[in-house]
Subunit: 108 residues, 2 copies
DNA sequence: TTTATATTCAACCATTTAGTTGAATACTAT
DNA sequence: ATAGTATTCAACTAAATGGTTGAATATAAA
């Protein structure tokens, strides 16, 4: 696997995959092992393990070893960075949407 | 090209590429033509045109024809959807970060 | 100590992505 | 009408992604 130039590359690439977004969803309530996660998908264990590697490199999850298991949990850093990126555009698109709303209102 | 199952696939895939993120950045101040955008990259015109197609399918930009030119502008919908997705996790990671901060404070 | 469980690694394959080049289309200006 | 400009399309390539299988490793249980 290749290193990313930008962290955002890895974060957004991670989020671009529905299985990986689903993994994040399942981790929201709390820690899960790799096996527990893998059970829910019609994929090989290895495939899920790879998805977790992608998520981990992007700092969207964090793994800690506990005996022979790996306990996976959400990591705030990646999501926070993604949010920070979008932040810069938030004012912009809110303005645009406001103008659009205004336009529709005056046009009825 | 293939249709995406989820809009989020297309949005996050778009954002995963640095050239495309840069295009969005350049569009923040306002409308640009395809040529104006293409000038800034060490890529063929066709390559930039393709990037814009990706962004457009994801509803991150919007194109309108004006004579033989295409005027490209930011579209609020895509960014807003990405933001909405992250929204669900915001409380979660803020809590996590708070706990971490608390922990560090009590440990000094 | 052998066996079972949890996970990763390595090698491989199909599909997608990001780029190229060259031709095609559509509009503008001469 | 002709030439130039703006953009897309089609065909192709290299590299990355998402998946598989089978072997390797590490820990736990019998």
């Amino acid at each position: 696997m290749v290193e990313y130039k930008s962290t955002l590359d890895g974060i957004f690439l991670s989020l671009a995959n529905p299985t990986r977004r689903d993994i994040l969803r399942r981790l929201a309530p709390g820690v899960q092992t790799v096996s527990e996660l893998a059970d829910h998908y019609d994929l090989t264990f290895a495939a899920v393990s790879k998805h977790l590697q992608v998520l981990e490199r992007a700092k969207l999850v964090h793994k800690r070893k506990s005996g022979r298991e790996q306990r996976v949990e959400l990591s705030p850093t990646g999501l926070q960075q993604a949010d920070k990126y979008l932040e810069q555009y938030r004012k912009l698109w809110e303005e645009k949407l406001d103008r659009l709303e205004m336009f529709l209102k005056n046009d009825k």
